[in-house]
């Protein structure tokens, strides 16, 4: 129970933030905030050793029992690793932000509120065992990320970036919800653990592949995979602590987490393997290729994040293969899961530190444009050292942790060559090549980042600020992260034992019974015979050549016009949705009542006539019809002539009088068909109505008095004809198929005995069905009052005048 509530600790603490910000302005609010992630990190760290003996920790808070909704916190190796990353890096980022954001100039209460909200959301995503609560937290990360990217909301670019990330991640989130519901339906449970347990049977469901694709859409949009990566570079408008935290270490790994968490369920399908592996590889290459095009420091880092996420994703794809192979070669694919998690840790360390350095450079020089920067090495030695460690680790050089994970990556990609299932025999061979080329580009952009910022010659006087080393407080967090980069290189197996293996157990529960069973050790040096080593050496050489000749080949980026980019496609889609929907609604929302009436009548006719046909409504029988007498025919002729006169009259006066004639002939019908009360009422009311019509006619504006015949319009006529035919058909059909006799016999029998009256119609009106009459009286009185109101009240004119006087 406490474990679940701890997920909500950050957001509950966040409620105090505005208070602290307003009441204690002398202390930077960040210091109070720092306590939350730091204490949570310490708390989760205690789980590391406990988990080995105890197994996963579960705690449930029932939310809506009748709908089977609950918040379930399930802490196993994978959740724990992510929780530690979230709280640990969260603490470092808060520390960094204390020095980065000025307490007098910035709206810190907003910033830290959003950040703590995000922390809750992220902890919820990684600890949830319940699919719906996972989705809730997932969307909360989208929302808090939206708020954080748009933190400087008076800048256009921030708002654009925030909106773009929101649109794309929420699109993916909704798709994912669809996938979740399908899976929950297949397995009849919302619990991921229970679904994993019944994984083999789920695959037989016809919706399995659909659910798989929908869930992957969610994961790919969140983790900025190809082609959904476009929001991430635009999200760089966020303050740098946010970029470091959300857009490198935590939120973008939510998709990775989801893929890893659901691998036991979906890995059985070849679609999963191909989609995860394929999109990972494309993203890896695409991101690393376009990182070299960027001129903004954070832009380079954004594309490198995209690329590295692709790398992790591709290894998860390879890890999924381990289900399909036995024997010796399966070891390598087991290895891939280990490599993915290991690189995930490594990436969080070096990318976090690089973002913080980019923020420091921005803070101290006033620009992030790499064309203006250069030569900061001597001025900012500590930042340079941290940046060098981070970049070289990202490039995959020893003695940094990136080297180890890159070697592992090559090993697992090379193994794909040998795999023969699912068409891998045709495509498997090119996978290591793509991976290698991407690594070359990765190496090149790491050099590009490092060299052009710190080493290349430049004129400092051009810079907006005079550069100098950052305050020590700002450097603490990047130094801690960079030291992890180095430490992990030397103790990879300790990290492996405590952090990676328990997480691997969660990804591949079918293969192992406990984390200690996993016998994978990371070696820094494989010997000179290993292909991986030579691949790395080749990466260094080719990457160096690529970087040094960059000026010559950089033109290829301009070969493909901007029009063909995904950003352009996104912009066009947004524009088309906006303009298109406006056009569409302008097309039919003309503002003319006549058009709306035409739609309505046409639809009524179409629906009724179709239903009559489909339900076989045409069964005409004329067995019970009355005879046609001479009077009736005469009245029918009067009525038709009257109606025609209304239609064809030049003068509206004639039309009004003809309407009166129609009304009186209806009264005559009532007489003929034995309805004396109706005839009386109809006569009186028709008279009054005609008088009212004449009143309205008398007040008609002068310019409309010029009489003209109603112009004939074929569309109107066709619709009117349709309605007429429909009513006739309905009447004939209903007349011919009377299924039950009238209830009126009861009224006839009891009108005197029960109600004491002789006029059955009147007794029905005031006795049997008196309520109708009551409300009919109400209708009349309301109409009367409304008429008085309309004539007497002249509010609008008075208002107009008073406005004019002002």
């Amino acid at each position: 129970m406490t474990q679940v509530l701890l997920i909500f600790l950050p957001v509950v603490c966040a409620l105090l933030i505005p208070l602290l910000f307003k009441k204690l302005p002398s202390i930077h609010t960040g210091w109070f905030v720092l306590l939350v992630p730091a204490s949570l990190a310490v708390y989760y760290a205690t789980f590391v050793t406990k988990l080995e003996n105890h197994g996963p920790y579960t705690s449930t808070f029932h939310w809506v029992k009748s709908l089977d909704l609950s918040f379930t916190s399930y802490i196993d190796g994978l959740s724990l690793l992510f929780s530690l990353l979230i709280t640990g890096i969260g603490a470092l980022v808060v520390l960094y932000s204390i020095f980065y954001l000025d307490k007098n100039k910035e709206q810190l209460h907003n910033f830290y509120f959003y950040l703590l909200m995000f922390m809750t959301a992220m902890l919820g995503v990684v600890q949830s065992d319940h699919l719906i609560s996972l989705y809730l937290f997932w969307e909360l990360t989208s929302i808090s990320s939206f708020l954080l990217i748009g933190y400087w909301y008076n800048r256009d670019k921030s708002r654009f970036g925030a909106l773009k990330s929101m649109m794309i991640t929420v699109f993916g989130g909704l798709m994912m919800l669809g996938g979740f519901l399908l899976v929950a339906n297949m397995g009849d449970t919302y619990s991921i653990r229970d679904l994993v347990a019944q994984a083999p049977t789920l695959a037989s469901s016809p919706y399995f592949v659909l659910a798989l694709v929908l869930i992957l859409l969610g994961a790919f949009t969140k983790s900025a995979q190809f082609p959904f990566y476009i929001w991430l570079p635009d999200a760089m408008e966020a303050p740098t602590p946010v970029s470091a935290y959300l857009h490198s270490a935590t939120m973008v790994k939510a998709g990775i987490y989801l893929v890893a968490r659901l691998t036991p369920i979906f890995a059985i399908s070849e679609y999963w393997i191909w989609l995860v592996l394929g999109s990972g590889l494309i993203t890896l290459f695409w991101g690393s290729f376009f990182a070299l095009k960027q001129t903004d420091l954070k832009g380079i880092l954004a594309f490198s994040t995209v690329s590295q996420l692709g790398l992790i994703m591709s290894m998860l794809g390879a890890a999924a293969i381990s289900l399909h192979v036995d024997g010796g070669s399966s070891a390598i694919f087991k290895f891939a899961a280990f490599a993915a998690i290991f690189h995930l840790i490594n990436h969080a360390t070096f990318k976090g530190s690089l973002f913080m350095i980019a923020g420091i450079v921005d803070h101290e020089t006033g620009t992030r444009d790499i064309r203006k920067l250069g030569g900061l090495m001597s001025l900012m030695p500590i930042s340079f050292t941290v940046a060098a460690i981070g970049s070289l680790s990202m490039a995959g050089l020893p003695p940094f942790n990136g080297f180890l994970s890159k070697e592992l990556f090559f090993t697992s990609m090379l193994a794909l060559k040998e795999f023969t299932l699912f068409n891998f025999d045709t495509w498997g061979a090119i996978i290591p090549i793509i991976a290698w080329v991407a690594s070359v580009f990765t190496f090149a952009y790491c050099l590009y980042f490092l060299y052009n910022t710190f080493i290349a010659k430049s004129d400092y006087k051009e810079l907006p600020k005079k550069p100098h080393e950052a305050p020590f407080g700002m450097l603490i967090s990047p130094i801690i992260l960079a030291s992890f980069v180095v430490i992990i290189f030397f103790i990879p197996n300790i990290i492996g034992k405590y952090f990676v293996k328990p997480a691997v157990l969660a990804i591949q529960p079918q293969l192992y019974r406990s984390a200690s069973e996993i016998d994978i050790t990371v070696k820094a040096f494989h010997g000179f015979k290993s292909t991986e080593l030579w691949m790395t050496i080749a990466v260094v050489i080719v990457g160096f050549i690529l970087f040094s000749t960059m000026k010559k080949w950089r033109k290829i980026y301009t070969l493909v016009p901007e029009k063909w980019s995904f950003n352009h496609l996104y912009d066009q889609l947004m524009l088309a949705a906006d303009v298109g929907s406006k056009k569409l609604s302008n097309l039919y929302m003309t503002g003319a009542i006549r058009h709306y009436l035409m739609y309505m009548f046409a639809c009524i006719v179409a629906l009724v006539v179709t239903t009559l046909f489909l339900k076989d409504g045409f069964k005409f029988s004329f067995a019970h019809t009355a005879k046609i007498g001479i009077f009736e025919v005469a009245i029918v002729i009067v009525l038709i002539v009257g109606t025609l006169t209304v239609l064809l009259a030049k003068s509206r006066l004639t039309a009004i009088i003809a309407l009166g004639a129609v009304g009186y002939s209806v009264a005559l019908f009532f007489i003929i068909f034995n309805a004396p009360d109706l005839a009386l009422t109809q006569l009186v009311i028709e008279t009054v109505s005609v008088a009212l019509f004449l009143l309205a006619f008398y007040h008609l504006p002068k310019r409309y008095r010029i009489e003209e015949r109603m112009p004939f319009k074929i569309n109107n006529f066709l619709i009117a004809l349709g309605v007429g035919i429909m009513v006739t058909l309905l009447a004939l059909s209903a007349q011919s198929q009377k299924l039950i006799p009238s209830i009126s016999q009861y009224y006839k029998d009891t009108v005197f005995t029960e109600a004491g009256g002789g006029n059955i119609v009147n007794v029905i009106l005031v006795d049997y069905r008196g309520f109708d009459t009551l409300f009919e009286i109400t209708v009349l009185s309301i109409a009367g009052m409304a008429i008085i109101g309309m004539i007497k009240l002249r509010l609008s004119r008075k208002e107009k005048k008073s406005h004019e006087n002002e």
Binding site: R594, F622, L647, R652, L678, A696, Y704, A720, A731, V761
Partner: protein
């Protein structure tokens, strides 16, 4: 007789709809008047047309016309009268205030057009 009435009612509906689709408010109201006539006759016809006596007990006739549709129509007549009266005064006020009878001219213009 019912068959003939069905055609008459169809004709009334057709004329009413045609008038409702016209541009002049007065003609639209005339159209609604015809529409309610059509509807009332439809109720009466569907109740069954007979040449029996009116539904009044005092006359002692054996076969009486069905009283229920008549009660329904009576209610409907009064309600449609109320609505028509309101509608007419509305039209009268619209002429007074806006000086037009043409519903096409009563359209509010969209700001961004």
């Amino acid at each position: 007789m019912e068959v003939l009435m069905a055609f008459v009612i169809g004709f009334l509906f057709m004329a009413a709809v045609y008038l409702i689709l016209s541009k002049s408010i007065l003609r639209i109201i005339i159209g609604t008047g015809l529409l309610s006539h059509g509807a009332h006759l439809l109720i009466l016809t569907m109740g069954g047309l007979t040449n029996d006596a009116p539904p009044v007990l005092a006359e002692g006739a054996k076969n009486m016309a069905d009283p229920l549709p008549q009660a329904l129509i009576l209610t409907a007549i009064v309600i449609s009268f109320g609505v028509t009266a309101f509608f007419l005064v509305l039209a009268y006020r619209a002429y007074q205030e806006l000086g037009t009878d043409n519903i096409d001219e009563l359209r509010g213009k969209l700001k961004d057009d």
